[in-house]
């Protein structure tokens, strides 16, 4: 009888502990939802393009938090405190990432706009120089070629605006820089042609 009581008491003891400790903690679903919303907001702001590294860290942290929850779900003594802390950090980091993304995006936009202005100025300068360049008989044949080149480049200037409008700021900057370099090259060539051109010789 005494032995039976002992086994029964041990069984009850285990069951009591289990009943007390198993299931008393619940996964932080609300916090997870909030974190996911914060992450999606950062992605929506353009984190994939402007803060790739930060977003990767956030995604890794999210996966680690999910693992932590899974780990706790498999335990009798569930404790989601660590997961909650991890998720709270993700939510805060996502908000910071959104702010960082917006800042970088604005910087990229301003840079693209500045590069667009520089490209337009470079093309305008080349155009002005070409207008000054001597034309007609007795002038450098290259001037005509340069005019055609500049026309091709000028047509591409409009593409910078299109890229900026579609928020392709890096692509806009790339194009603007290429245009500026080409236009500057033409200006230098025209300048050299003007300096070399015979003075006072006018077409009949």
């Amino acid at each position: 009888m005494k032995g039976f009581v002992k086994y029964l008491s041990a069984g009850i003891s285990v069951m009591l502990m289990a009943a007390l400790l198993v299931g008393c903690a619940k996964p932080p679903t609300q916090e997870m939802d909030a974190a996911k919303v914060a992450m999606d907001t950062a992605i929506g702001a353009g984190a994939e393009k402007y803060a790739k590294e930060g977003l990767k860290s956030l995604n890794d942290a999210w996966a680690a938090a999910q693992d932590e929850i899974k780990k706790q779900e498999g335990k009798l003594f569930k404790n989601y405190d660590n997961a909650k802390a991890m998720i709270a950090k993700i939510t805060a980091d996502a908000a910071a990432l959104k702010a960082e993304t917006e800042k970088k995006k604005e910087e990229a936009k301003q840079a693209a706009i500045a590069d667009q202005a520089a490209a337009q100025a470079a093309v305008a300068q080349a155009k002005a120089l070409l207008a000054e360049a001597p034309t007609g008989k007795g002038t450098k044949a290259d001037i005509d070629a340069m005019k055609a080149d500049l026309a091709g480049i000028e047509a591409s200037v409009a593409e910078i605006g299109t890229l900026i409008s579609s928020e392709e700021f890096f692509a806009a900057t790339d194009k603007a820089k290429a245009i500026s370099a080409k236009a500057a090259d033409i200006s230098a060539q025209v300048q050299a042609a003007i300096e070399k051109a015979p003075k006072g010789k006018k077409k009949k």
């Binding site: 899974k70 003594f77 044949a141 005509d144 080149d149 091709g152 047509a155 290429a178």
Partner: protein, 370 residues
């Protein structure tokens, strides 16, 4: 009732043992080192732009890593005697080995892509340069150069993107550049056809040979101008004695048909007058239009190929003023070279102007491989 009461009392007395048992089952343990290494490796692989160079392999690797992590979680959740840490560590070791393979793959593919894009960039630049040469040798009109300028701009962008290892973007720019280059080529090809046409070149060669033969027979000077090469060849007694670079009419791609077409005439001419004080240093006036020119002019007018009020033009000269200058149809040389020719040539010196003197000319060379 008593039994139950005693049992509960006993259970409370043994509760600490129970707690200890559960603690042992669920206590936190140190993760195998391989877990952390795998996480670091995944990060390193991602930073190496695996999504560009080995996206499929990366997906498979991530799935393998996921399975290993799930196995770790599952293992941790087990009661300690049933845990198999070695099996879990083994899974992570496999992940690490796969990750090493992917890193090698990325390095290999990156090198190959860098070389490939560099090769394609060089090839596209070569195509543009060849076409550019053609537009400068023979004025083929504005549109082809505009297309070439656009293509060159895109190649510049592609090069800059490739330097920053943004290969997919660089490839996209290269593709667009190739389209513009192709359009430029298609625009200029019809105009350039006669410079690579064997039959047409044979006709020109015949005229050149006749001129050289005449120089040989008379023992005097003869001038041959090849438009495509922008060269003036001076012969004496059938032997080439001098070669000069020349400037031509801005529409030198065509044979001259009428006044104001800015084309340099093609045909057999003679010096009709030596002009010692020309607007462009010194000049040798040619007998343009000759009989053939008049016939072609009349034919073109009948066909409506030239403006109704257009005249045939004249005053075609070989003059100074500089080889870099564009003319209205004359042949221009640098003044010191004009001085030489002026001194050597006489009235009646034969002057033959052809599109191309040789089968192998600037156009055929530039067109090759396009």
């Amino acid at each position: 009732m008593n039994v139950l009461r005693r049992s509960l009392r006993e259970a409370l007395r043994q509760a600490p043992w129970g707690l200890l048992l559960f603690s042992l089952a669920g206590c936190a343990r140190n993760e195998p080192l391989e877990v952390r290494l795998a996480e670091l490796q995944e990060r390193k692989i991602w930073r190496a732009e695996v999504e560009v160079f080995a996206p499929d392999e990366y997906r498979a690797y991530c799935a393998q890593l996921r399975r290993a992590k799930d196995a770790l979680i599952e293992n941790d959740g087990k009661f300690f005697p049933f845990r198999d840490d070695e099996a879990v560590t083994g899974k992570f070791k496999q992940v690490l080995a796969r990750g090493d393979e992917i890193q090698t793959l990325i390095a290999r593919r990156r090198t190959a892509q860098e070389a490939g894009i560099a090769e394609r960039l060089a090839a596209e630049r070569d195509r543009i340069d060849r076409l550019d040469v053609l537009t400068t040798v023979i004025s083929v009109g504005r549109s082809s150069r505009e297309f070439l300028a656009k293509a060159e701009l895109l190649v510049d962008e592609a090069e800059s993107l490739a330097e920053r290892r943004r290969f997919p973007d660089a490839e996209e720019r290269l593709k667009r550049a190739a389209t513009f280059t192709q359009i430029a080529k298609e625009v200029m090809t019809p105009a350039l056809k006669r410079f690579v046409d064997q039959e047409q070149i044979s006709l020109w060669r015949r005229k050149v040979d006749e001129t050289i033969r005449e120089s040989k027979l008379r023992g005097g000077y003869a001038i041959v101008v090849s438009k495509v090469d922008r060269q003036l060849y001076l012969y004496k007694a059938g032997r080439l004695v001098r070669t000069y670079e020349v400037g031509l009419g801005s529409r030198s791609i065509s044979d001259k048909l009428y006044a104001g077409d800015r084309a340099t005439p093609e045909g057999k001419y003679r010096v009709t007058k030596k002009v010692p004080r020309s607007r462009y240093f010194k000049a040798l006036l040619l007998n343009y239009p000759n009989e053939e020119d008049r016939r072609q002019f009349a034919l073109a007018k009948r066909r409506g190929a030239i403006p109704r009020r257009a005249g045939i033009g004249g005053l075609i000269e070989i003059h100074g003023g500089g080889k870099d200058g564009q003319t209205l149809g004359c042949v221009a040389l640098d003044d010191h070279q004009m001085e030489e020719i002026y001194a050597l040539a006489d009235v009646n010196t034969p002057v033959t102007i052809v599109g191309a003197r040789d089968y192998e000319n600037s156009v055929t060379q530039a067109m090759r491989g396009l």
